[in-house]
Subunit: 382 residues, 4 copies
């Protein structure tokens, strides 16, 4: 019965890439940002990184738990793409811990992220986690001794204001779809994947992404960021230092910082785990730029990885690694702050007004108003 209802849910595959490319992004609207973005201004500018979304939108009107309305989904980030079973060095950080990111105990101790990074709603972390294992079992093979286990990285933010979150609408097939459809190139933003029902600074939020390319002198590395943006209160929102939240006070949702944000930082700079923890921590500074005080209800959890050392996880012989010296790491730190800042604004710019359960409505950040406010404070680019 549950199954039959689920079949009626529209799987919005990532077929709208053209749209994604033509929608204006934050910098198209004249929001000023520092640093040089990569070709897609997306996490996928880091070579090898693939992103896939499964978006679940169905029903409207009054909430019937288990039936909908449904406004949720799953996003998959594959550090080396579907074709690879190689791990990456990783590190993570919690700015405020009212959230979940599974798998981090082993990330912390091993220094590796082995498999995809998944983002979904709070109450679907479990199904996504086990489905990642099932997906790996189907595709992988046990190690030489016939043993294996898996500790997937799955994070979440809460979409229960718009979505029937206690209906548990995310199913294993949605996870498989997000993984199997992951690709490089442009990344859809806004009301997609895990970000479908999310709210950011009391505007409609969701998925956002951005990237930075360092100068040749700095090593020429790329830093890419993807966020699932569900944090913040309007009152505090600053964009480019401008008090945008106070200038656009209409249609607020609540009076507290009850949301969350998951931030994924990718780079091809050859960083070791100790350094990646430091990179993850820098995402905090981007939230600071945007006015957040990281409220008690927020799950502000960040994870960073480097694609720079292939086969570092392999046993049975000493590994040869490369490491960017700490003394040369500042451009990566700065790029992380810049790309995170832009990814968050991109999420709000891309998201569209959504009505969910019980006709709850969350408005999109109005583009024209944003431009007006930036102009008022002499911060509109060009």
């Amino acid at each position: 019965m549950i199954q039959s209802r689920l079949l009626r849910i529209l799987l919005l595959f990532t077929s709208t890439l053209t749209l994604a490319q033509t929608k204006p992004r934050a910098r198209d609207l004249g929001v000023p940002f520092d640093g040089n973005p990569g070709p897609n201004n997306a996490i996928t500018d880091v070579k090898g990184v693939e992103v896939g979304h499964t978006t679940l939108i169905s029903g409207s009107g009054k909430l019937k738990v288990g039936e909908g309305p449904v406004r949720t989904g799953v996003t998959a980030i594959l550090p080396r793409g579907k074709g690879s079973t190689d791990a990456v060095f990783g590190g993570w950080f919690t700015l405020n811990g009212n959230g979940e990111m599974t798998g981090t105990t082993w990330v912390e101790d091993s220094g590796f992220i082995d498999g995809p990074i998944m983002i979904t709603n709070t109450h679907s972390v479990g199904v996504v986690r086990d489905a990642v294992i099932a997906w790996k079992v189907k595709r992988g093979k046990p190690d030489m001794e016939g043993y294996w286990w898996s500790l997937p990285v799955v994070a979440e933010t809460w979409d229960g204001y718009l979505n029937d979150i206690n209906g548990f609408h995310v199913k294993p097939e949605h996870v498989f779809n997000a993984l199997d459809s992951a690709r490089s190139g442009p990344v859809e933003e806004g009301n997609v994947g895990g970000g479908t029902g999310m709210i950011c600074n009391e505007f409609k939020g969701g998925i956002g992404t951005a990237s930075r390319v360092l100068s040749a002198k700095e090593g020429g590395y790329t830093v890419g960021v993807l966020v699932q943006c569900n944090y913040g209160e309007r009152e505090q929102l600053r964009i480019a230092g401008v008090p945008v939240g106070r200038e656009i006070p209409e249609h607020t949702v609540w009076k507290n910082d009850t949301g969350s944000i998951i931030i994924v930082v990718a780079t091809d700079a050859p960083l070791i785990p100790t350094q990646l923890k430091r990179v993850a921590r820098r995402a905090s500074l981007a939230l600071g730029r945007l006015g957040s005080y990281s409220g008690d209800g927020s799950g502000d959890i960040f994870i960073a990885f480097s694609t720079g050392n292939a086969n570092a996880v392999s046993p049975k012989s000493v590994r040869e690694l490369k490491m960017l010296p700490n003394d040369d790491i500042n451009p990566v730190f700065l790029a992380t702050v810049q790309a995170t800042e832009e990814a968050i604004v991109n999420a709000m710019v891309a998201a569209e007004t959504m009505t969910g359960i019980n006709d709850h409505m969350v408005i999109a950040l109005p583009h024209d108003r944003l431009r007006e406010v930036l102009k008022k404070y002499n911060r509109l680019a060009r």
Copy 2:
């Protein structure tokens, strides 16, 4: 189809309590332990704590993924029992991180454990996590504003040597059963619940428990421990300081410390979260006593809670707390080490020889041999 097969799996409810009480425990065999145990020598000696198991055992012979053989289960620890929705102060620690304990990011930051602590196999953490939410949704109610979310604590160890772990045999109803059947009083040990298919120092392992009661001068508090014991290599095993592993070298399973151990420490001493982190860390010292070096493949993750401050989590007014001074905490530390040591030995003593997938067999710690070895080293307690 999967469902129909599952229906054939025998749900071993906790109807064998009488047996549990009559089986000898470690101290009955003459293993010497320090300190004074509580009436049940179990985690349930801490008032309010309830434990429930669902044990899944079915099939035999060659592994067919999804069909069995099945040797797994779920164990639920409810800090204040089923009747309470109040949280407890908590803290956690990782000795070696090759494992999962969900919910800990919020335990760390909030200082609270809100809900049950669940233990299962590695590949069933997700289903258990989401099922705990479903169980809470069914029983609980949203907060005043109609919002809620949940970040359950679910831990695991790997039972894939005996169990069809990639068959994902744990289902939501098994989780509900473990929760609903939780009770105070004696706790079944050995091949039950999450511990069903576990291996400890290359003997059959599983669930073990023990407790200590402090003297009146020390405050009269109780410390209870429950372990899901799946760690260790035979060669290193010491019991009561005696090299039991080397003296009983037969039927070893592998040549590595690839297992894991989850340790849950409960107390009614009024400890705040900072102190509970320290208590959790002490479990390491019990592993040291037993000879462990906490191998790379081990998920040695410990969590401690105190039932001592009711309603500490409630908002809207300043809370009144009690705190045992740091200067008076040593008896709690020592009791934690002692009860953990005994709980681990209890797990090995209670577990019975098991044959699982592909006719893999793991022998029980032979009781008579254990007594002989203790005697040889002049350590057999009267």
Copy 3:
């Protein structure tokens, strides 16, 4: 010989309080800040907190190690004032670890700060630490068993661009003076105490402070912040969201984020250590607002304490505590971000142009230029 030279160093006692009160502070210049400051807009607005400075300025011209020029000092923050030997609950956080704060291992594990918090230059942490012990020995008494030891909290930033840091000019008597002269009321800012030779965003930096008072509905608590500000690169500096650093590009000092910042947060809100760690972490968000990316060379270390639970450290009987619920903590978080932001700008506004070793000169943030830039971006208050 060393002693005789030291006698020639001018001890600038805290006799310039009148001056401190008449100098304009950041908000006097029209920098817009949110929230309501306390009567002194200083950390001393938290009842009981006392601050003392010893400022060492002598010599000019070429550096002769051991002889000068000297531009350094010591700042003491006494959480409960000189008259108390009671500890406070505390927590700390490192945003970037290229610095020192002694005593934190025990702060982390005990949850207490027992004694003053001292700030000095990098190479004088040791002398200050031992001198704090000597000061306590002189004033205190051993515990009942005749034993005692002390693990003082001493932090630092590096002033070697202006100061003969390898001359080790801070002596025990300077530490005693800072402690003995500590008082409540207005706090001197800028080139004083530990902040004497510090540089902030390539303007002259030093000591800054600010406070916030919560509304009665929020509990009426006070949050006070004191910073020793030595971090940042000009290029990144934003004040009130305005790119002040780029608008005032003259007289930069270096091209890297090589400095550091020590941030001390005080509150009378009854917070337990777990909560104070979270408060300390919020200081990061203020740095984000001001444009920092927390460079590799930076020691960005924050410590927070609460005066709210007296006698919590006493042994021999269970303590009665009060705790602000996590659900009500957001105003404290926000106040921390706001007061930290203002304290940093206050440090730059108060500091005056200084010439140090080898005629290195660091300019003060020009007040008129700051006003112009704020006006250009429509952010000048009033």
Copy 4:
């Protein structure tokens, strides 16, 4: 005056090496240990590591603060020897935090230990810290831009039961002497260096060391450990699993675990910082073997380093590193536990009965009694 008194203090230089070599060590007495020690069974078996002690013993009878009796000192461990300014990868861990180890904030974040590791008494950490900087300033040179700063690693345990700790008898010249006299080869143990006045399990404690050499198949690496041993209560002491403390109950000192232990682990295995943190954590398991419960008053702080990657700290180009895979790290973990266990017992075996302030006497572990007890429990080797 203070100076003149100090001149009368006998500097016990490391001229007693012959003695050190002829005194029996724990394994000479028949204490059974696992694993294969290196040629000196000392931390100096790790190539490049040098150790130096300054031992301060003078006076007797009643304590006059500032005059004595003096029973203290400094121990220096130089990871790459005096001839090198290269850093090593490092990691640290706190089992119980009632102690100090300066410099660890930067060890944690940078992954490097840059300079010597020093151990002294609790109230001399400061003087030792600043003296290390002075020593480096004298020998080193600033970086290319003329800037430098230093964050030395200095740890401590408390010797105030035997030593006039508030007399601050450790002076910079004692630090220089420990550094300048550091050498490879045999390491003096017992009442020397920082360990001079220390107490371990209520026997006389102090410095102890041991090492393990892995098999060629395991990589042939060496793991060396040095401890400054001041922890534990007699009642809990187990050696080789035997309850030695209860069997030798005479002349106990106090009734609490108020001491501390600093443990330094060295290896030439090419480990990265993430791995070295895990190695440091393993020292806990050795304390477990010996019966410790890590009391509230204990500063049980451990630090590990690897000499395996030279020049890893150098800036300006990407570094080439080697890393032992996590899957191959177990022998290093086990060797760490074994060598730590032996180093602690070596400290007690080497230390001699000492009388200090106010005629406080602490007895040495009686060698013959130890052998008798081991024999009673059938654990005497050979």
